[in-house]
Structure formats: C-alpha cells, structure tokens
C-alpha cells in the first residue's frame, strides 16, 4: 500500500472501491454490533412481543385459555387497585424526583464551582450510596426507622420526644422517598457534574467579562449547557418512580399494614403474577404501565428539547 493520505483526501476514490468499502462497513459493523443485537432481541424484544400476545388471552378454570381481545385492558383501566398504586407512584414522582434532582444539581454546582474544601472527597462520598444495593439500603433505613429499637426510637428515648412512626401508613411513602433519594442523589449529582466538567471554561470567561456574576453564569451558561444531562436524569427518574418495587417490597415485611400488595403497580403486577397465577392480567397491567411511562418520558424529552431550540 503506497496510497498517500493527502491524495485520498483531495481526490475521492473511484466508485468500485467505495462500494467495496461500504460493503465492508456493513459486514464489519454488523459483526461488531451483532452479538449485542442478538441478545437484546432475546431479552427485550421477544418478551415485549410475548407480553403483548399474553394480554389478549385469559386463562379460565373451565375451558382453558381463550382469546378475549382487549378485555384485559378494559379491566386494567377500570381496576381501582391499579389506580391506587398508580396514584402512589404519581405522588412519589411529583414530590421525590424534584427534591432529589434539586439537591443533586446544587451539590454538582457546588463541587464544580471549585469553592469547596475537599472537593474530591465530597464527590466520592456523596456518590457512595449508589453502590449500596436497594435491598441493603431498605433494610438499613428500615432498621433506623424503627420506633422501638431503631434510631427513631433512640431519639425518642434520649430526648423524651415522640417522633411519629416513619413506617405508619401515612408516612411510609415519604419514608420510601427518603430511601430512594439517599440512594440516587449522588448518582444524579455525578451525571450533572460530569456534564458540567466538559462545558468549555472560555464560556465563563466570556460571561465574566460581560459582567455576569456567579449566579448569572449558573443560570445563563451552566444550566443551559447541561440541559441534555438534566433531561436524561429526569427521564430515568420518571422511569424509576413508576417502576418502584424493591424498596416497598422489602419494607413490606417491616410494615405489612402500611404497604399493601397493590401499593405500587409493580408490586401489584408481581403479586398478580407470582402469588395469584394471573399471568395474562399481570402482563396487561405491566404493559399499561409501560405505555404510560413511555408517553410521559417522551413528553418530557420533547419539552426538554423544544426549550433548547
């Protein structure tokens, strides 16, 4: 091969070579991407397809499996147990997600400002809870919530106060919100921080020369620059809220009266499927929830992108 790189740039290669090249690109590209796509089809696409298929049938004690059309969907959309769970996760989404993302953003801005003592310690220590499994986080907080032997009980004894039981029906959703916030505040902080790191510093210089103060730079330069990261974190948080399962499922053993089997749509699906053997109806509830999630995530994405333009 004696082809000079400059020659290749100035003169486009002749057609046959280009065709050979694009054939090779196709072959090699699929060769590299093929394994991912194959496994993805097996564990994502096939189950989604199968799930939709399942929703069209119903198993009856007498007569076996029969085709019921959209009956399962009608049942799900008019099922008060489904909507109870849905209203819980919707409330959770409306309260917990803004609090969590707000704290994450403020911490990311504080760390990025370079004005903290021990910057790298802050960054890694606040991130650490992300490495803690939801099971351990829920057990841990569950123990601490205890009014008899837990930290709440300790504080009540030590200070002679009577803090309310965090695992009571009226407080349990907030208590779960606290666990989820604790788990993911550092993860989101890191996503925001990573995005802030790659904002060109010259933009700050330019804004400072124009007379912008620090808050002005945050509002007019930094936040717009990391809009993509904000939108992605919001979408992941919406998906996470609607999928809420691990934390309530584990706390259920400590607070069986406060956390019912339909506390979240996910818990409801789980109990329908694995305790009630109602696979078809469980698949329907899951699909309905999936469609609602996808619509809201998509709307947020559109809104996030429109502001940009």
């Amino acid at each position: 091969m004696t082809l000079l790189p400059t020659a290749a740039k100035t003169a486009p290669p002749p057609r046959p070579r280009a065709n050979a090249r694009s054939r090779m690109n196709t072959l090699v590209g699929w060769g590299f991407a093929g394994p991912f796509v194959a496994v993805f089809a097996l564990v994502f696409l096939a189950p989604i397809g199968y799930s939709v298929y399942l929703t069209l049938f119903r198993d009856r004690l007498v007569g076996g499996r029969s085709f019921v059309g959209l009956d399962n969907y009608v049942q799900a959309l008019t099922d008060p147990r489904f909507w109870d769970g849905f209203s819980n996760v919707a409330l959770f989404l409306a309260v917990q997600v803004p609090i969590m993302l707000g704290i994450s953003l403020l911490v990311a801005l504080a760390i990025d400002s370079g004005r903290l003592y021990g910057t790298s310690f802050f960054r890694i220590a606040i991130f650490l809870p992300y490495a803690v499994p939801a099971v351990v986080a829920s057990l841990l907080w569950g123990f601490m919530y205890g009014t008899r032997f837990g930290l709440v009980g300790n504080i009540n004894d030590a200070f002679g106060v009577s803090l309310p039981n965090p695992l009571s029906p009226s407080l349990v959703l907030a208590s779960i919100g606290n666990i989820v916030t604790w788990e993911f505040v550092g993860y989101n902080m890191l996503i925001f921080y990573a995005a802030l790191r790659v904002v060109p510093r010259s933009l700050y210089e330019a804004a400072a020369i124009d007379g912008a103060g620090e808050w002005r730079i945050v509002l007019s330069v930094k936040l717009p620059a990391i809009r993509g990261a904000l939108v992605i974190a919001t979408i992941f948080s919406i998906i996470g809220s609607f999928q809420l399962f691990n934390e309530p499922s584990i706390l259920q053993k400590l607070a069986p009266n406060a956390i019912t089997n339909d506390f979240t749509p996910n818990l409801y699906t789980y109990s329908l499927s694995f305790a009630g053997q109602q696979h078809n109806y469980a698949a329907t509830v899951a699909i309905v929830m999936g469609v609602i999630t996808a619509i809201i995530a998509y709307a947020v994405q559109l809104r996030g992108m429109r502001k940009k333009g």
């Binding site: 091969m1 790189p5 290749a8 690109n25 090699v28 060769g31 590299f32 991407a33 991912f36 496994v39 993805f40 097996l42 564990v43 989604i48 199968y50 799930s51 504080a110 760390i111 370079g114 004005r115 903290l116 890694i124 606040i126 650490l128 490495a131 499994p133 939801a134 099971v135 351990v136 057990l139 604790w182 550092g186 996503i191 790191r197 790659v198 510093r201 010259s202 700050y204 210089e205 400072a208 020369i209 620090e214 990391i226 993509g228 992605i232 998906i239 609607f242 691990n246 053993k253 400590l254 749509p265 699906t269 789980y270 499927s273 698949a283 899951a286 699909i287 929830m289 999936g290 996808a294």
Partner: protein, 315 residues
C-alpha cells in the same frame, strides 16, 4: 486525584491565557470568579449537610456491625455498645446455616463475572460499531435500544419469566446472567465515548498499513476505549451485584441466591413466627455485601470518573 487536578490546572491555564482574555481585564477581576474561585467555608458547610445525610446510614451500619443482638436493642444506634463483637459477627455471618452466606457470595461473584463481564464486552463492541462504521440499520439499532430503556423492567419480567420457564432456564444461573448481558446505558456510553476517543484518521492509517479490522480494534481502538470500558464495567457490576428483582422472580432454590436475595431471606425469617431473628447477621452481612463494591469504586475512581465525563460530551 492528581489527574483531575492536572486537567483543572491545564484548563484554567488555557482559559486565563492571554489569547482567551485580554491582559488589561485580568487586573480588574473580582475576588472570586468561576475561573478563579476562592474556597468558601459557608458553601462547604452547606454541602456538608448532604455529606452527613449520605454518610450517616453507612456510619450506622459500621457501628452496629460491632454489636451483639443484646447491644443492638439496648444501646444507642449511633454509638458503640458495651462489647465489640465485630470479628465474632463476621465469623458467625460466614458460618451461619452451614456457610450459606459464602455460597451466596460466590453466586454473586459468578453472576457479576459472567453478567457484567459479558455486558461490557457486548456494549464495547456494539458502541464501537455504532460510532465507527456507517452501516445500514445503524440508526434503527440505536433508536430501538434507547426506546426500550423506557419500558419498565416489570413489563418484561412476567413474559421473560414465562419464556425462560418454557426454555427450562428458570431456577438456573442462566436466568440471572442472560438478561444481565444487556446494558443500554453501557451501549450509549460506549457509542458516545468511541466517537470522541477513537479518531477516524487513526483507523484509516491502520487500514492503509494493512491491518485487519479485528486487529485494528484490539491493537488500536481498545486501548483508547479503556476509560469508557472501565466505566461501563463498573456500572454493570453494580447493577448485577445489586440486582434483586430479576433473581427474585427467576430463582427459587436458595442455593442459587445472590447476596441480595439471601439477606432478604434472613430478614423474612426474622419476621416469621418462630423464625430465628438474626438482625446482627443481617447487619454484618449487609456491610460485607457493600464493602467490595465500595472498595472497587474508590480504587478505580480516577478511571471511571474520566470515562463518565467523556461520555457526557454529546448529551
């Protein structure tokens, strides 16, 4: 954090160089600007509140892993009990019920090795292909994968369970490993990372030198992809190590439990009438469960943080 410090230094030097700012302006700069920040005690204290919030439960865990059952219920949660039982707790956690905890630990390691290792390989190969080869269907692959992220895990759980059950895979390690092999976040990160980290000119030069595509990938692209690869590996490891829902539905036999299911089983046992309450073992077991992953994150933070930063370039 020498690497970060150096980059900051270089960035600041570049930003304050005469080319970027007229020299006459430099003398009139305010005491603290985004480019020339002064460390602030009030800001450190306020951010410190979040630090206390995140570290408090971990401190509680460490303190209470030193207590026996009696001290657990009688002593204050944020201080040590009368006796220090840490090593005794560890050895009882590891030997309780014929050493079932060790079995769960080995299972978890196996799931992580196969699942997260495989997920990383697939994501690196796929991300590299999406970034560096213009092939028909490329955009479709990306759109479908990103779209699928919005589908809740439970929408997939029931049909995946039924499908795997039909294939005879439930209650085997495969049921946990195979779904762990796909990391859409990993694919996305590697795609963005490869676009930035591997220059087309370098690949072209290798081809001109007669290097085959596989050889080019392993000898030239892979070393450049290392920070991104480590980031994907770490985040897949956490996902697999911490996985709860998938094994919960797939695995019935406690011999195949990962640590998360095992700890949950101990907790359930304590709540059932007549079951032995083993809160001390749950607490020490929890500490042993999070320790390895925390250590790995601390040791490798230089690599995964730079990988994450590079990955957010295009967001």
């Amino acid at each position: 954090m020498t690497a970060t410090a150096t980059t900051d230094h270089v960035r600041r030097a570049a930003a304050t160089s005469p080319a970027a700012a007229p020299p006459q302006r430099t003398s009139r700069r305010r005491p603290s600007t985004p480019l020339n920040p002064r460390r602030s005690v009030p800001l450190t204290l306020v951010t410190g509140l979040v630090l206390v919030y995140t570290l408090l439960p971990l401190g509680w865990l460490v303190i209470n892993s030193t207590k026996n059952q009696r001290d657990l219920v009688t002593s204050f949660g944020l201080w040590f009990g009368e006796d220090v039982n840490f090593w005794d707790n560890v050895s009882r956690t590891l030997t309780y019920d014929d050493g079932v905890f060790v079995r769960w630990l080995l299972n978890t390691l196996f799931y992580v090795l196969a699942g997260a290792g495989g997920a990383t390989v697939l994501a690196v190969l796929g991300g590299y292909a999406l970034a560096k080869y213009d092939f028909p269907g490329r955009k479709a692959v990306f759109a479908v994968v990103i779209g699928a992220v919005a589908i809740p895990g439970t929408a997939l759980a029931v049909p995946t369970f039924l499908m795997f059950s039909g294939m005879g895979l439930t209650n085997t390690p495969w049921a946990v490993i195979i779904p762990s092999l796909i990391s859409p976040f990993g694919l996305y990160l590697m795609w963005v990372f490869a676009s930035e980290a591997v220059p087309d000119e370098l690949l072209e030069a290798a081809r001109i030198d007669g290097s085959g595509e596989l050889r080019t990938f392993f000898r030239i692209a892979l070393p450049l992809l290392m920070p991104g690869t480590i980031t994907v590996l770490l985040f897949s490891m956490v996902a697999t190590w911490n996985n709860y829902f998938l094994p919960l539905i797939m695995i019935k036999d406690p011999d195949w439990y990962p640590l998360t299911l095992g700890l949950n089983a101990w907790n359930a046992q304590a709540q059932t009438a007549g079951g032995e309450a083993v809160f001390d073992l749950i607490i020490t077991g929890s500490l042993l469960t999070i320790a390895p992953i925390v250590v790995i994150f601390l040791l490798l933070q230089r690599y995964w943080q730079s990988g994450l930063s590079a990955g957010s370039v295009k967001e």
